[in-house]
């Protein structure tokens, strides 16, 4: 099984980018050959998709990459180090990299994971994406779909 998983807070502007892409995929029936999953701000739920039968996960999240708002990068968890000071394992200010580390320590089967990290422009309360992310929404969608369908 393959999954596109969105994580974030829907009501905090660009933090919701992953959720909105997943929502778009589901609403438009684009989830063919994979499942699109919204785990919202409950990062620990990522653990439930780390299964032996999981072939690949594309995780979409707002990521502070030090880029201009709206720019994006595709990378694997092993390519990066988290520099975010987070609380312990709560749903608040979740850090999926720490959840993956937790999973590895518990011998969960961690499949191939690609993160589509998108530089947020606005993380204040709000139900809309910032213009920089709105303009590139179709690009993120295309990249995510290409990535999940790619072999390996």
């Amino acid at each position: 099984m393959r999954y596109i998983i969105g994580i974030g807070n829907y009501s905090m502007a660009d933090d919701s980018i992953g959720l909105r892409i997943v929502e778009h995929i589901i609403q438009n029936g684009l989830d063919k050959g994979f499942e699109a999953v919204d785990i919202a701000d409950e990062g620990t739920r990522l653990l439930f998709y780390l299964k032996y039968e999981t072939e690949k996960i594309v995780l979409i999240d707002a990521v502070d990459l030090g880029l201009a708002a709206g720019e994006y990068r595709l990378f694997e968890p092993k390519d990066v180090e988290t520099t975010k000071e987070t609380q312990e394992l709560t749903t608040h200010e979740g850090d999926v990299l720490k959840i993956l580390e937790f999973a590895r320590n518990l011998s969960y089967p961690v499949p191939l994971i690609t993160i589509l990290g998108i530089q947020p422009g606005n993380l204040e309360p709000g139900m809309e994406l910032s213009p920089a992310l709105q303009e590139r929404f179709d690009i993120y969608l295309k990249v995510a779909l290409e990535e999940i369908r790619k072999d390996g």
């Binding site: 807070n9 009501s11 701000d41 409950e42 653990l47 988290t82 709560t90 749903t91 518990l106």
Partner: protein, 438 residues
């Protein structure tokens, strides 16, 4: 006494959201003692204004990632009340089952991941992985069941999309409901092991009592989670009830200088909401197996120890499993089938209340003749608890000082007290911040 104590817990860990504990004691005199909530308002009431009634629950479910089922249910109940929509007995029972799923899931997270580290003497759940592997694996196994239990009925656990005004947009199959029932039956060994784990550390639950008022939904027929009227029980055992429509007269929100969140009070200086409040109000209607556990723990109402809120959550974990098995039997025996959505019959204003993991939750909306929302109000249980937390801290600090506890012990005692309330202050952002390895 010449004790000087300075506690400044900035962004208390293992709670959802940001809260600070500030204590300043000079020469044994408490000069400052504050529970501070510094988070910004999120304006959900403004976001629903002008939205069609079919959209409102989808928006308000986003208030919280843990209680999104509860916000959805409170929202659709308020909308149904405002628009004169009558749901069927099957819908009522299925919604109660999904409410159980949320409380089960959240309580497991709180007991195992947020409270247990204190009782095991660990700073977080991470160090428990090598030392208590089976406990952590069990917790995740139970959480997974909670996740799949909620997803089966709600379409997804986080922000369910099947629960809509008038009923359900989609239904699980009969076979899926039977499978869920079997999985709940099969959970017994994990429930037993959880009880044993809690019993093994029960002596580490601090003993502290401060009588207060306890508010919860209440019903004559069931341990109210999905539906009921407002009830409070006073320290002398006196109970009083109010219709949900009168929630404002019981919550009496007010503002305080140290907090961006509103506080609430009713007959006393503050009241408590949450599992302990439900336990104190509705003990007699717990499932017999849940009562048996409470008796084994020598835990009975009225309990005035706020640290026991986590133990009340454990009792509710058992109740939610057993009561869901009962409800699934009733739904299946009555000839389970998908039902058409019930339709609006009027416009106007309506209220809805449910018991989310952290306590009683109110939603209130007005709708015009076109079904467009004219205004809303949500009162969240964590906000209702802030005043009680403050008064608990004010009562606890002198006791800790009198017991000659050192600064670190006082800090830990206060942190554990706040954590016991399982506060969910707000769900903030979840973005990553990374640097690429060279």
């Amino acid at each position: 006494m010449s004790q000087n104590i300075s506690v400044n817990v900035h962004h208390l860990t293992r709670v959802e959201g940001h809260g600070n504990i500030v204590v300043d004691v000079r020469n044994g005199k408490i000069e400052k003692m504050q529970w501070q909530v510094p988070e910004a308002p999120r304006f959900f009431e403004a976001m629903v204004r002008g939205r069609h009634y079919t959209e409102v629950a989808r928006i308000t479910s986003r208030i919280c990632g843990i209680c999104s089922i509860g916000h959805t249910l409170a929202s659709v109940k308020a909308t149904e009340n405002a628009l004169g929509i009558q749901i069927t007995p099957q819908t009522f029972k299925l919604r109660t089952i999904i409410k159980h799923a949320e409380n089960f899931d959240s309580h497991v997270l709180h007991i195992y991941f947020l409270v247990a580290p204190d009782l095991f003497g660990a700073p977080s759940v991470f160090p428990l992985v090598p030392t208590h592997t089976e406990v952590v694996v069990r917790a995740l196994r139970m959480k997974r069941l909670g996740h799949e239990w909620g997803s089966l009925l709600g379409g997804r656990t986080t922000h369910p999309n099947r629960v809509i005004p008038g009923g359900f947009a989609e239904y699980p199959t009969e076979a899926e409901l039977k499978n869920l029932k079997q999985r709940l039956i099969n959970l017994q060994p994990d429930l037993d092991a959880t009880v044993q784990t809690v019993l093994s550390v029960a002596d580490k639950v601090p003993s502290f009592e401060r009588p207060t008022e306890y508010m919860a939904l209440s019903s004559d027929t069931e341990y109210a989670l999905y539906d009921g009227v407002i009830q409070t029980v006073m320290p002398d055992g006196t109970k009083q009830r109010w219709p949900v429509a009168e929630y404002r007269s019981c919550t009496n929100e007010y503002v305080v200088p140290q907090s961006t969140a509103k506080y609430a009070k009713n007959k006393m200086g503050s009241y408590m909401a949450g599992a302990l409040a439900r336990f104190n109000n509705n003990y007699g209607l717990l499932h017999p197996e849940a009562k048996k556990l409470a008796e084994a723990l020598k835990f009975k109402p009225l309990c005035f120890n706020p640290y026991m809120n986590s133990v009340a959550q454990l009792v509710e974990v058992v109740h939610s499993v057993k009561d869901s098995i009962r409800l699934l039997d009733e739904v299946l025996d009555a000839g389970y089938r998908p039902e058409d959505l019930a339709k609006p019959t009027k416009s106007g204003r309506g209220q809805g209340a449910v018991e989310v993991p952290r306590g009683i939750l109110f939603h209130d909306y007005g709708y015009d003749n076109n079904g467009m929302c004219t205004g809303g109000n949500c009162i969240i249980p964590t906000n209702q608890n802030h005043g009680n937390i403050q008064l608990d801290l004010e009562a606890l600090v002198p006791k800790l000082l009198a017991a000659k506890k050192d600064e670190r012990a006082i800090e830990l005692g206060l942190e554990m007290l706040v954590r016991a309330y399982d506060p969910c202050i707000s769900c903030s952002t979840h973005y990553l911040k990374v640097e690429f390895k060279r």
